[in-house]
Amino acid sequence: MDDVLLRATGITKRYGGIAALRGVDLEVRAGEVHALMGENGAGKSTMAKIVAGVQAPDEGTIVWDGVPVAFRDTTEAVRAGIAIVLQELSLIPDLSVAENIFLVHRGAYRGGWWLDRPTIRRRTRELFERLGWDLPVDPDRKVADLSVAEQQMVEILRALSQEARLVVLDEPTATLSPHEVGVLFALIRRLRARGTAFLLVTHRLEEVFSLADRITVYRDGSPSGSFLTGATTEPQLIRAMVGRDLGDLFAVRHRTPPGEPVLTVRGLCRGRHVRDASFGVRRGEVVGVAGLVGAGRTELIRAVFGADRAERGEVVLRGRAGLLDSPAAAIREGAAMVPEDRKAHGLLVDLPIAQNVALADLAARGGFWLRPGRELTRARQLVADLQIKAPRLWQGAGSLSGGNQQKVVLAKWLATEPELLILDEPTRGIDVGTKFELYGLIDRLAARGTAILLVSSELPEILALADRVLVMRDGALVAELPHAEASEEAILAHAARAPGEVPTAAA
């Protein structure tokens, strides 16, 4: 009882008329990693934000360290010892690592006004050492020059530099490679041993089992289970999250023998990220692309799709051969690409759902006049097919939860009836139930003859879906493994091996 650090009781939060949380409780003890799980829209992120003072609850009380608190903003929470690392990074790109970490520290300013660079540089190095940080990041480097993974770690460092006793992590590993996840988890374990508590919001079951001490599961804004990790199994957790059994997540392969080639790439080059790549995808085939963060997977498919201009090489799509200079050209030849960063590159958040769904087809084939009736019918049909939870099709797409947003992006491409579907991290940040639906969908599309190029950092996903796995390292395709020979070990061996170097985050 006495080691309870934070106790939230009867928390209710409404957005408009909809309750995101309905009278839920949460208890975090000192020195534990407490996982908060649930599907998209279950309320776990809302709870995390309330704990850290990002949002205020409509009802309920929070007792922190024995004292009732009502944080008006994150600054108050930070002062009390609760820091949050959000999914959206909140670093200032043009400032250095050290400047970002100590931006709001009083000690960083001499006389309260003048930035004391030598001091913050020294204190950043001390922080690295104290935490046993093993990513060699120079405190003077600009944050904009870091990889997304490194930026995320800087955010966590900033939280720790503020003497946080409870660190709230919202989907911290969504953008990290397996190696980086390992580094991050090692750090969390070390800090836990010194008494720092973590509230970890995540979708990933394997993370929870490797890291968390206790697990709280929400479903539709209400608590649906509370578990001790040691005494819990995966199916139990899934049932608590989804409300039913999903069966084997990865038993979804119904393939037909692949047909003629849809995409052939020969000698494609773009800077140091894509070096002399040659491969092909055939009708009805799922080709996976694996590799560490920074290996050039996204750069490769963007060059194939014409999103970035390649320097050399050839892309054969349908009958057309040559380099593509715009996505529009690729789309005309039957290609489609679901980008890695949904909000920045996929979704038009201000536009209604129906208009999002119609956009690519309109650009490729539409005439001068819009046809709103047909648009709405088509959108309604795809929304039903993909089971998108969108009560009103004319509502802004930004109002949907992450998983449903991703489905809207997919619907946009399915409306063009593509022959080649390129998917870049299609299930990032998406809950397990929706993930399962997407796997089924990818499988059905392949069975119907769509050629699919799947980039993913989640090896189980690639192993389950891909007929062939291409492994990328430092911009080059270094291995091609047929389904039967692909395994996590085999992929990682190719992905991480670098001559004369220990495997590190190649960013």
Partner: protein, 339 residues
């Protein structure tokens, strides 16, 4: 939440129809929420003025108001398109004066009255300068703010260079028809022009592919490009349209005044941006409508007219308009928070 039973049971034609009309009404209410609030403000203002200033509702005064909103209204149509894509056009006043001056000099320099040539040159110059703006923004990937600020300075300066800072007076009657002639009894050509341009713009935005793409570009340019939208080509369109509309507004203004003044258009950029913002269009792009801009134009016009009628010192007009700009944004913010 995934897989939970949802609105799968919506079948049967009667259910669908009931949903559709209810949905349509709610959709309309939501889409035009901001515009509705500003329209209410406009109606209130008109009601108050009709009580406070008895001659407000007289035919003469209403014609006066419709004249006062025409030039700004025309250019605000283009400005709305530009702002919807996330851009801004600060050069509108400069383009208006420059286009009118080049056209006027062409017309008066030659022998005889080449009115058609003068009007054609004015329109072409407006369109051309707008095109340059658009090409620099879209293909040169320069910030619209910088490009059009530079263009404002260039056009202002060139206008003085070619005119030697003198007005062109004694314009031919044929040239002045657009500014003071009438199509039918009491319906001036300039009002008709405004109505037609507004209708074309509104239809373009709400019913056509280019209009949809302007919203898409303003909402998320990169996502639009990756969806196959030819972003660069569509980004040129609003600047070119704005340039052309500036020329039209300048022709109407100089026709009415009977002179082409190098200072025509001073402050147009702020007036048009004010109208667009009051009408609820987001300066970040992607959200807004021409209906809102129309209301914004009239709100400013009626406000200025009302202050005139009430014999308030004209220097106060800027304060009133500024207060309305800030209030409109504040109201929008508050209503959003509650909704």
């Amino acid at each position: 939440m995934a897989g939970a039973p949802q609105a799968r049971g919506v079948t049967g034609p009667h259910v669908v129809r009931a949903r559709r009309t209810g949905e349509g009404r709610r959709r309309f209410a939501e889409e035009y929420r901001v515009e509705g609030a500003m329209l209410a403000a406009l109606v209130l203002l008109c009601a108050a003025l009709s009580v406070a200033a008895p001659n407000f509702l007289s035919a003469g005064n209403l014609r006066n108001v419709s004249w006062q909103v025409t030039a700004i209204g025309l250019i605000a149509i283009g400005q709305t398109l530009v702002i919807l894509t996330g851009g801004i056009d600060l050069s509108v006043g400069g383009i208006a004066a420059f286009a009118a001056m080049v056209g006027g000099l062409t017309m008066t320099r030659g022998s005889g009255e080449q009115v058609a040539l003068g009007i054609a040159v004015t329109l072409l110059v407006g369109l051309a300068v707008g095109l340059v703006n658009g090409l620099l923004v879209a293909y040169g990937r320069l910030a619209a703010f910088i490009v059009t600020l530079g263009m404002l300075s260039i056009t202002n300066s060139l206008t003085y260079v070619i005119s030697d800072a003198k007005s062109i007076v004694g314009l031919p009657d044929a040239y002045r028809v657009w500014g003071r002639g009438g199509a039918f009894d009491g319906l001036p050509w300039y009002t008709l022009t405004f109505v037609v341009c507004f209708a074309v713009g509104h239809i373009l935005l709400t019913r056509t592919k280019p209009g949809r793409f302007l919203y898409a570009i303003g909402s998320n340019e990169e996502a639009a490009r990756l969806s196959g939208v030819d972003v660069r080509a569509y980004k040129v369109l609003p600047y070119a349209a704005t340039g052309l509309l500036c020329a039209v507004a300048a022709l109407i203004l100089s026709g009415r005044l009977g002179a082409i003044d190098p200072d025509t258009g001073t402050g147009f950029e702020l007036d048009t941006i004010a109208a667009v913002v009051i009408g609820g269009t987001s300066l970040f792009g992607g959200k807004g409508s021409l209906v809102g801009t129309l209301i914004g134009v009239f709100l400013i016009g009626v406000l200025n007219n009302g202050l005139n009628l009430l014999r308030v010192n004209a220097f106060w007009q800027g304060t009133a308009v500024g207060a309305v700009i800030i209030l409109s944004v504040l109201v929008e913010r508050l209503s959003r928070r509650r909704g």
